[in-house]
Amino acid sequence: MFGAGGGTVSYKEIEETDVILLWGSNAREAHPIFFHHLMQGLQNGARMYAVDPRRTSSAKFADLWLGLELGSDVALANTVANYIVNNDLHNKAFIEHSTSGFDAYVDSLAEYTLERGEELTGVPAAAIAEMARTYATAETAQILWTLGITEHHNAVDNVLALCNLALLTGHVGRWGSGLVPLRGQNNVQGGGDMGALPNKLPGFQNVSDPDHRAKFEAVYGRPIPPEEGLHLTLMFEAMERGEITAAYVIGENPADSEADIAHARKLLRGLDLLVVQDIFLTRTAELADVVLPASVGWAECEGTVTSSERRVQRVRAAVPPPGLARHDQDILRDLAHAMGYVEWGNPSSEDLWEELRSLSPMHGGMTYARLESESGLQWPCPDLDHPGSPFLHGWLWEDDLGGRAGAPFSPVVAQGPKEELTEEFPLRLTTGRALDSYNTGVQSGSMESPIRYGNALDMNPADADRLQLSDGETVKVTSPRGTVDMPIRIQPDIPVGLTFTTFHFPELVDTNLLTNDAWDKRSGTAEFKAAAIRVDKLVGAAS
């Protein structure tokens, strides 16, 4: 945020913070070891507010659970902000010195009174007021979020609404305070850092900037196209228009993981050429013309990954890869050679890292030797004497901002989920993860787990009663896009009208046949968190 994409704090800081807003995150199950740090913070006296439509296992650790209507996050954040401003709890010195656009932001909050906030979010006004007051008056405070914020059609608005709260109170850029997007994959941070984004070169340098491109062109000896590329969701749209006819998929399983999956599979099948490089014959690989077997990145290869606290750490080969499987970078090298780019040479992982260090200023001080001896380093780490950066945006607190404009407030307007509930589809479906499984199950599926309950549809007892369903009964679940059969699991922790499931076992329950691919144009993320469904008894089934 504010320029570079990464969480602003270190895990250690949450052990020492005073107030925690856990917003759209079930870290107890999805980021369990981060949650250890958080629980130490609670033991040290932090007060925690959990904002989630479900009363999750994480929410049970909170002082207060704010069970908002699914998708009403912007409304809640704006109501909190309105309360803070109206009660004169905002950090005026920080706003004046380090931010811009405050007046327009305040104007945009006018309609979000406590009463209106309660109406829009379903959260009692007293609870909103308590969270607002506690957050604003804390010495240090953090807002943490995950996919409950970002898997919405208005994902970027959700994130901006939370960033606004931090700017309003000065809870960013200081030890203990910050904005924390917890990363869902072991190197999703590193992928972005390395320029695996359509508009960025490594180190968040801009493809559109001629100076940045020139630096890379000098080393690569090739011109770099100045046009920004496409993110995943736009790629699927381009496939639909026939503009993309070939795809090379590395370590991703879009044939199971995309929302509205039937549509995504149809587009993948329609390609002239589909190349899949993966460690398994995934559903995507089954559709491929060519499959390139890869080795396992974290156990069979040398390299680095980057965590949610921007810590770059080494992965190492512990076992040999099976059969013909090979390191991703060796496969890519051979492809480059086959295409005539022999200057690629035969670099080792460390050689590639050294090149990266020379091109990406924020990685400049991170040698393999330092990563080894210092248990990883947090970017930015520009030179060999730099200790790495526990938190970001300390410059906001400097007397002289060095000519930089302050961090901008971004007024945002509340919008509900794209798909509204109707008489035909009266229940809300949201999706998420369970402790012992991971995404589409490519990795976790073969793990034996005594606590696994499979893919079930969680439902409030009142809804189950109304539909005359019993616990464990297999039902027909239908959304405007598809139908799947799955058992229900009666759960008192889920509100009436809301249902929840995972998508860890696509071969058993094709959850993403149901999910909505309405997506945010700016982030490219689909609204996995909100679909409208109907649940019917199986015809002729003995219950």
């Binding site: 895990y11 250690k12 999805a30 980021h31 369990p32 070891i33 981060f34 250890h36 629980m39 033991q43 010195a93 200081r174 030890w175 203990g176 917890l182 990363r183 869902g184 994959q185 072991n186 190197n187 999703v188 398994f280 396992v296 990145g297 974290w298 156990a299 069979e300 990954v305 980057t306 965590s307 949610s308 606290e309 810590r311 750490q313 080494r314 992965v315 190492r316 080969a317 512990a318 076992v319 248990s375 990883g376 526990p390 300390g394 607190w397 400097e398 007397d399 402790l435 012992d436 991971y438 490519v442 990795q443 976790s444 599926g445 073969s446 793990m447 034996e448 787990s449 005594p450 606590i451």
Partner: protein, 290 residues
């Protein structure tokens, strides 16, 4: 406006250990000071990633002015303290503690104690073969853990790791009193029926093999557990974005156990079920050994 810096605390404390001055940061324990002075100390219930519970008393030292021996793992180092670690009284006490523990419990897999038992000449057998034992079957209730309470010395480490030192699951605690005391789930239900979430953090801290990974147990049963031939490679977990450090223990090119370094700032040695057990997909399903 001021810039908030990362807090630093570095007040130092100087004490005397075995006649030599030792300086350590304030808040260090006597055990930390012994380590800083290069003095090796036997421990059992102590772990650097857990709060000391003072259960085993094997780390005791003599402190000038103290009537009783003091547990070095929990006693804070204070200025001008005089500590002796190798007096007759200390040696005798450590030997007795090791003998008492070993007389009623199977310490065959408590590798960290074997050298100390030799060092202090501990002979647990001299209490006779009728010394009290639990004598119960190994509990094998799932595919991930086994529990063998004949090996349990009631050091409480597993309880601490499951509880407020790390995991906050509280699936196990000490039940019963005196000779009947043992580690148990609520109402002694099986682990799969308990609150257990299979993070393996109890196994990670167990010093005697009383709680063990099933993979290790099976290899030991087959007389094929060969730690001296195992390599340990440090890497990063492949699941969520927290970046937990894993130590992959590999025997015959197969992962046989996963641990995490206790001194790492991300994990403090603790993992979740995915990090601890989610590696099976790396392994070919066909047995490689003939």
């Amino acid at each position: 406006m001021t810039i908030a810096e990362v807090p630093q605390t570095e007040t130092m404390v100087t004490l005397t250990i075995d006649g030599a001055a030792v300086t350590v940061p304030e808040g260090s324990t006597v055990l930390d000071a012994c380590s800083a002075a290069g003095i090796d100390t036997p421990t059992l219930c102590y772990a650097e990633n857990l709060t000391p519970v003072n259960a085993c008393r094997v780390c005791v030292v003599e402190q000038e002015g103290s009537r009783t021996l003091v547990p070095s793992c929990s006693r804070q180092a204070e200025p001008d303290m005089e500590i002796k670690t190798d007096t007759e009284r200390v040696r005798h006490s450590r030997k007795m503690v090791l003998e008492f523990l070993g007389s009623g419990v199977d310490l065959s897999q408590a590798d960290q104690l074997h050298g100390w038992m030799d060092h202090y000449g501990a002979e647990p057998d001299r209490y006779g073969s009728d010394a009290i034992r639990i004598n119960e079957d190994v509990k094998i209730q799932d595919s991930l853990y086994i529990r063998d309470y004949d090996k349990c010395v009631l050091c409480y480490k597993c309880v601490e790791a499951c509880g407020d030192d790390a995991q906050m699951t509280f699936a196990i605690a000490v039940s019963g009193r005196g000779f009947d005391a043992r580690i148990s789930t609520e109402f002694d239900v099986t682990l799969p029926d308990s609150a257990c979430v299979y993070c393996g953090n109890c196994v990670g801290v167990c010093p005697t093999g009383a709680i063990q990974f099933k993979t290790e147990y099976d290899l030991r049963e087959a007389d094929d557990w060969r730690p001296e031939e195992q390599s340990v490679t440090q890497t990063v977990c492949s699941y969520c974005g927290v970046g937990c450090n894993l130590e992959l223990h590999v025997q015959d090119e197969k992962i046989v156990k996963v641990t995490s370094p206790a001194d790492h700032s991300v994990t403090h040695g603790h993992l979740c079920i995915k990090g601890r057990f989610g590696w099976t997909y790396v392994q070919p399903t066909i047995e490689r050994r003939p």
